[in-house]
């Protein structure tokens, strides 16, 4: 299916009243919870994941995607108004967005973020629609050896391009792979690491693990710092741009969009790498770089466009190769699998409605965000004043009910509590939980492909380097690992994430 007829089908699916409705609920809930202090997008999606299980697959995924970009959008609102980025991808927005708000230009900053995101979303939608079918065709020629190498590359790239210690992140991947081993081995039917606990025969549940690591652990951490929300909320003024501001912001938004669309496809990079890179680029090409950090509108337009574009194009590896490249995409894999769909190249053929419906709904969702957010910003601002002491019991209640309601299993509630503690220990030891989730999700697939590839090659591990595509993928993974050892690259990586 080419992109035009694909988008036609997609619009037909996405415009069905039920899907429009769930897209709307998703973006609204996403913004609402994303704005709430101390709840990032991963926790938001994890929290709302259980309520989508009763829906048809397409509606569920459309709603989850809406929650995702809604939460991201909410994050930039808080970045601009109270200097509290909802997540890493809006960290740089704080620099100039908050400065603009202090100068009484909060309205202009919010409008720039909204319009830039909408523009980026539109371009990225077309990008996903165009790149999807191409990559799918490549992926269909893959055999198990290529898949295994691809997953190795994806995991390696996701830790090298993200921030933090690479050695620890790789250890976390192994830990995730280890957790994924628990349960029945599909090949022999033997129970592994289940300790005669009946609930573990299907493996450790995905939702309790994620809600524990990202929801419960965050609650404990936030309770540690009692007085963390001290910033005054700045007043919102005229929600529009002057002609001059628009002329400054538009080219920056365009550059941010292009950069973001490209970087979003890379594993690990995603939205945060894109926003950092876009901000760096604007500063580099600006005639007067000293304006940045003091309310330069380009410093809002570029990263906000870039992170939205990247957030959307990060769906590409998931939808075409079945490869989740960040924690949110790992959650999408979890959601798809619970819906009985294995993400990968066959999805476009077997569920064209789902693929194209999702792509088209991204554009509709972005339009909704623009329409619901600019006029409603006053309500979101009021939400920022909700004290955390009222909020965290609510987060815990919804986590507990969501986890329990999946299988009506109290065991899952205990799992979530245990992983809450584990996640808190990870934070204390400076270990990012995202690689663990990626390993956990990909583990069973990797084992299957490794087994099949080595079965076909009669146990010869050279199969991974004898096949050209597989060799290429492994080589890139090796180069990435090599690069991290080189001091020059390491320094650049540190600089990039510190700015």
């Amino acid at each position: 299916m080419d992109i035009l007829s694909g988008l036609g089908v997609g619009l037909g699916v996405a415009l069905q009243p039920i899907n429009v409705g769930f897209c709307f609920i998703g973006t609204l809930l996403g913004t609402l919870i994303g704005v709430l202090p101390g709840v990032g997008p991963v926790a938001t999606i994890a929290l709302l994941l259980p309520i989508t299980f009763g829906l048809p697959a397409t509606s569920a995924i459309i709603m989850l995607a809406g929650i995702f970009y809604g939460a991201q959008y909410g994050g930039s609102t808080t970045a601009i108004l109270i200097k509290l980025p909802g997540e890493t991808s809006s960290v740089v927005t704080v620099l100039d967005g908050y400065a603009m708000a202090q100068q009484g230009r909060a309205g202009a900053a919010l409008a720039t973020a909204a319009l830039g995101s909408f523009f980026a979303g539109t371009v990225a939608t077309l990008f996903v629609g165009a790149a999807g079918p191409l990559l799918t065709r490549v992926a269909l020629s893959f055999s198990s050896a290529e898949y295994f190498s691809l997953m190795v590359l994806g995991l390696i790239a996701s830790v090298v391009l993200a921030h933090g210690s690479v050695a620890k992140a790789i250890a976390m991947i192994f830990l995730g792979l280890g957790l994924g081993l628990v349960g029945t081995d599909v090949n022999s039917g033997e129970l592994r690491f289940a300790f005669d606990i009946q609930e573990l025969s299907d493996g450790i549940g995905f939702v309790p693990v994620v809600l524990g690591l990202f929801g419960v652990a965050e609650v404990i951490r936030n309770l540690e710092t009692p007085d963390w929300r001290t910033n005054r909320i700045l007043p919102v003024t005229r929600l529009w741009l002057t002609g001059k501001e628009f002329r400054q912001a538009a080219p920056a938004a365009l550059r941010g969009t292009l950069l973001g669309s490209f970087l979003g496809v890379l594993p690990g990079g995603g939205a945060s790498l894109a926003s950092f890179a876009a901000y760096g680029l604007e500063k580099k090409i600006a005639r007067d770089p000293s304006r940045f950090g003091k309310g330069a509108i380009e410093g809002v337009a570029a990263p906000e466009s870039a992170n939205n574009a990247a957030a959307q194009t990060s769906f590409i590896p998931l939808l075409t190769l079945g490869l989740p490249t960040n924690a949110v995409m790992a959650l999408m894999v979890g959601a798809l699998i619970i819906q009985g769909i294995q993400p990968g190249p066959l999805m476009m053929e077997r569920q064209p409605d789902l693929f194209w419906g999702l792509v088209a709904s991204m554009w509709i969702g972005n339009l909704m965000l623009l329409v619901i957010n600019l006029p409603l910003v006053g309500i979101w601002v009021r939400l920022l004043k909700v004290p955390y002491d009222l909020l965290y019991p609510a987060i815990l209640v919804f986590s507990a009910i969501g986890v329990y309601s999946l299988n009506n299993s109290t065991f899952d509630v205990y799992v979530a509590a245990v992983f809450g503690l584990v996640g808190y220990v990870f934070m204390k030891l400076d270990c990012e939980p995202v690689p663990l989730i990626l390993g956990f999700v990909l583990g069973p697939l990797m084992e299957e492909h490794l087994r099949r590839a080595l079965l076909l090659s009669r146990g010869d591990p050279m199969v991974f380097v004898n096949r050209p595509i597989s060799l290429g993928l492994i080589a890139v993974a090796g180069l990435l690992l090599l690069a991290i050892v080189l001091p020059a690259f390491r320094k650049r990586r540190v600089v990039m994430f510190q700015e």
Binding site: E190, F193, P393, L396, A400, T410, L421, D460
Partner: protein
């Protein structure tokens, strides 16, 4: 700082502790892995665990060594109070949900969890608990049609 204190600080840095943790988990995994290994061409159920936990243990050694060579930050203090109340709130919810139903389970969860924060007067806690309980019943049971025990006297 005395030499002994410096050594102790280095041994309890985040990297060293994380590395030792990974190493321990890897070794435990290998020790528990008494499933048939098989060969590369015909993997038994123990083959993948062997690879994974060996990798985990090896990375643990690497992380710990890195931490010893380059001193990193020390581990911050744990806030045991918050941890305790949050985790216990999950446990009481799990204990209550099948015996006493959603409404009671939600109320006890909020009551226990509120000990970890600064919500203050019992009346505010009660108001929040009852509000959340009614909201949950409305959204999950009536709205989303999730089947679970709601009241202590229903099945």
């Amino acid at each position: 700082m005395t030499a002994a204190a410096a050594i102790r600080a280095r041994l309890t840095s985040r990297d060293v502790l994380a590395g030792l943790g990974f190493l321990a988990l890897g070794l435990i995994g290998l020790w528990l892995n008494d499933y048939k290994l098989g060969r590369a061409a015909r993997m038994g159920p123990g083959y993948m665990p062997m690879l994974v936990f060996s990798g985990l243990a090896a990375m643990g050694v690497l992380v710990a060594l890195k931490g010893l060579v380059r001193p990193g930050e020390a581990v911050e203090r744990f806030q045991w109070g918050a941890i305790f109340w949050v985790l216990i709130s999950g446990v009481v919810f799990a204990l209550a949900i099948e015996r006493l139903g959603l409404v009671v389970a939600t109320i006890v969860l909020v009551a226990v969890a509120s000990r970890g924060g600064h919500l203050g007067q019992p009346l505010r806690v009660l108001a929040l608990a009852v509000g959340l309980a009614l909201f949950s019943v409305g959204v999950f049971v009536w709205g989303l049609g999730v089947t679970m025990k709601v009241w202590p006297w229903t099945f």
